[in-house]
């Protein structure tokens, strides 16, 4: 017993000594310094050891919620940053609405714990309207090694001031099981597909296979609104933010042209028989229950990477004007009242580095980097292929962001499109029910704030 106590005391003393002797945390940073030499002023880069107080940064994110993406982001992206800077990043997945509620509470109590948010571009306005975000111009303007694609500036920059930096984008792509290629209409080409061809193709497959093979998310309030609206944009429906009619829209002439194509597929039994219980096309495409889909590039990437020899990928189809695609992005913003603005800026700089951009967007399933220079690093594995096709869409598409904050509730908006799908597309006779569309449009307008 005595011996044991003595040992314990020695151990404790040892531990205390060790702690006392531990050096303050230092990191090596590369700094540019101006040196005056023989009358000239030159700029040199030197490596310097600097002491950094160990800090914690709280990042709330509505992106990367699938566990695999989350693990990749934390282990492969955040960890090197933490090692490099000594900053500990507390990363939390929060739903869009909850994130807003959380910040509301923090602002109301003056107790700001969230330093940085990674939000969906359709919701940037929620935060900029409240004036909670800090300007990022000072930092962003110093970057000369990277240029941010301007596609999302509409939401990220308000009155000339940048509050968000998009770090990851997504668009819509076409994916087909190679078995479907036998039915591809003559003259059609996956890289230049039109919605007429897409519809004919779908009907031909259904007729040949005795079973519809087109996948969309039949479970309400998932992705149909985007899958459909990409086609409406292809027929010239202006993107959100334009004078009406603009996305989201149910009854404009451009939209009706898109409905016609989908109604053709519905009347030809081109959709999977169990379409109304589909909430994500990935499994169905992998299981070959579905052969054809226009869907989100990350989903397409996931399927394609599972077996690239079995699938063919192309940009989203064209309407009578251009490719159409909903384009979304997630961007970083820094809470103005945060106590850790400097650390947050370090993370912002890190995540926008071109090589990190590519690594992050590839690793999490084939999202698109938003920094142009990242594309220099593209190779030719399946995910690179997806990113290339997605870039075609991002560069050429008549696109639209999601004006989520213009509406009382985005879920309710989504549901209107789902209603039209089940009533007119799936169970219709291939004709357009303009009265239904007009009625739903009235309901849509009623949801506008």
């Amino acid at each position: 017993m005595k011996k044991f106590s003595v040992l314990m005391i020695i151990a404790l003393l040892g531990a205390a000594l060790l702690t006392a002797c531990a050096p303050a945390e230092t990191v090596t940073v590369i700094e540019t310094v101006i040196v005056e030499k023989e009358g000239e002023t030159i700029i040199e880069t030197v490596e310097k050891e600097v002491e950094v107080p160990s800090k914690t940064l709280v990042l709330d994110s509505e992106m990367f919620s699938p566990p695999a993406e989350q693990i990749f982001f934390i282990d492969e992206i955040l960890k090197p940053f933490e090692e490099e800077t000594g900053i500990t990043v507390t990363f939390q997945i929060v739903k869009g609405e909850d994130m807003f509620d959380r910040l509301t509470a923090q602002q109301a109590t003056g107790h700001v714990t969230t330093d940085m948010i990674l939000a969906f571009n359709g919701r940037f306005a929620w935060y900029t309207d409240e004036g909670w975000m800090g300007s990022l111009d000072e930092t962003v303007n110093t970057w000369d090694d990277r240029s941010i694609l301007p596609a999302f500036d509409g939401q990220a920059v308000v009155d000339g001031t940048r509050y968000f930096v998009p770090i990851s984008a997504d668009v819509y792509l076409t994916i087909a099981n190679n078995k479907a290629l036998d039915y591809l209409p003559v003259g059609a080409d996956m890289d230049n597909l039109t919605y007429e061809q897409y519809a004919d193709w779908a009907v031909a497959i259904a007729a040949g296979e005795n079973e519809g093979k087109v996948c969309m998310t039949g479970i309400p309030m998932k992705m149909w609104i985007y899958q459909f609206s990409s086609s409406a944009l292809a027929y010239g429906l202006p993107g959100a933010g334009n004078p009406e009619p603009a996305f989201p829209n149910l009854n404009a002439p451009q939209t009706v042209k898109a409905w016609e194509q989908w109604a053709k597929i519905g009347a030809g039994d081109g959709f999977m028989p169990t379409i109304l219980s589909v909430d994500n096309c990935v499994d169905f495409l992998m299981r070959e229950e579905a052969w054809l889909s226009v869907t989100h590039n990350a989903r397409v990437g996931q399927v394609y990477a599972s077996n690239e020899t079995q699938f063919t990928v192309g940009p989203a189809p064209m309407g009578d004007t251009a490719i159409g695609s909903i384009a979304g992005a997630h961007g970083l913003g820094i809470v103005e009242d945060s106590a850790n603005v400097e650390a947050a800026l370090l993370l912002l700089e890190y995540l926008t580095r071109p090589e990190i951009q590519l690594k992050m967007n590839k690793g999490t399933g084939g999202f698109l980097p938003v920094v142009a220079e990242a594309l220099d690093y593209l190779g030719d594995d399946p995910t690179d292929e997806i990113i290339r096709k997605a870039l075609i869409v991002l560069d050429n598409a008549n696109g639209s962001f999601l004006p989520v904050s213009d509406f009382q509730d985005w879920g309710a908006v989504k549901q209107l499109f789902d209603d039209v799908f089940s009533e007119m597309v799936l169970n219709g006779d291939g004709t357009i029910d303009q009265a239904l569309l007009d009625a739903k449009q009235v309901a849509l307008e009623a949801l506008r704030k």
Partner: protein, 302 residues
């Protein structure tokens, strides 16, 4: 003398108070964590956005296009699933209670669904029922379906999907009912039933005249607990068909609360539906207490 009577009386009163003192902590708990939110909901359900008293919320719920379908679907699920679950569970319990060789393993197997969370059950069935899922594969393997033949379980009318929902719910819930019934059966002394046979009964007369009457309080408990749970079914529904396609009462609450929380009507709808479900469940619970005799005074007061 007067003093003696006094202490005597005081003792009596003291004795009567004891049970009330004992439930006091529970009562506090209820007021804090149950009654308060319920009352809040109730108040909110009668309050307009401007803070005035209103019946509008209820009018809104009752005139909601989804209200009657939700009520109808919930009723169908409750009636059919509880009936189906009860009969199958009873059958299984009677079977297992006969203690045939291997009945222990059989009991274990039948209990597996109970251990799975509802989400897992939904996922399991959904991957099974889909066109290229394991149920069709199994049927093909067993030769019930011809090679390449398919049954579109998840396609078709709302009635077919409702039936599917009922079967899935039954699959998960039957074990728990069965356990309750089995416990009840095992409480019946063996001789009580044997006397039934000796005095002229066959299996069914003994079941009808002796076993089931003796099991009746257990059956009431099982059925009404199940009834209350069935009224609150929603997760399985949204896993299979999502929100709004096959509305049921609690699904409506979750819908307004979680899916479209920012609609101006959502708080009113959510609280209206909540109160309606609470009322229906309370009625079921009261019915349970009533038939189980909790309100009856003891027959012999000592």
């Amino acid at each position: 003398m007067a003093l003696a009577i006094n202490t005597e009386r005081r003792r009596k009163i003291g004795k009567q108070i004891v049970p009330y003192l004992l439930v006091l902590p529970v009562l506090f708990y209820y007021i804090a964590f149950w009654a308060r939110p319920v009352v809040q909901q109730l108040v909110q359900s009668f309050t307009s956005l401007e803070g005035q008293f209103t019946l509008n919320n209820y009018i809104m719920v009752f005139t909601d296009l989804n209200f009657l379908p939700a009520l109808r679907n919930t009723s169908i699920i409750v009636v059919f699933s509880v009936t189906l679950e009860f009969f199958i569970a009873l059958l299984l319990a009677l079977l297992i209670n006969r203690k045939f060789p291997g009945s222990g393993i059989f009991l274990f197997l039948t209990m597996i669904p109970m251990a799975l969370p509802a989400v897992a059950v939904g996922a399991l069935w959904k991957t099974g029922l889909t066109t290229n899922g394991w149920i069709n594969s199994l049927l093909t393997y067993l030769g019930i379906l011809t090679e390449g033949g398919k049954i579109y379980w998840l396609a078709g009318s709302i009635w077919k999907l409702l039936a599917l929902m009922i079967i899935i719910d039954a699959w998960q819930v039957i074990p728990s009912i069965m356990i309750i019934l089995l416990a009840g059966l095992q409480n019946i002394p063996k001789e009580t039933e044997e006397a039934g046979y000796v005095f002229g009964g066959n299996y069914f007369t003994v079941l009808r005249k002796i076993t089931l009457p003796l099991l009746s309080s257990t059956i009431q408990t099982a059925v009404i607990l199940r009834l209350i749970a069935a009224i609150q079914i929603w997760l399985i529904v949204i896993v299979i068909v999502g929100f709004s396609r096959m509305p049921v009462l609690v699904e409506r609450i979750v819908y307004y609360h979680e899916e479209v929380p920012r609609l101006t009507i959502s708080p009113a709808m959510a609280s209206g539906y909540t109160i309606i479900v609470t009322i229906i469940v309370s009625i079921a619970a009261l019915a349970y207490l009533w038939v189980s005799g909790a309100f009856r005074r003891k027959r012999k007061e000592v």
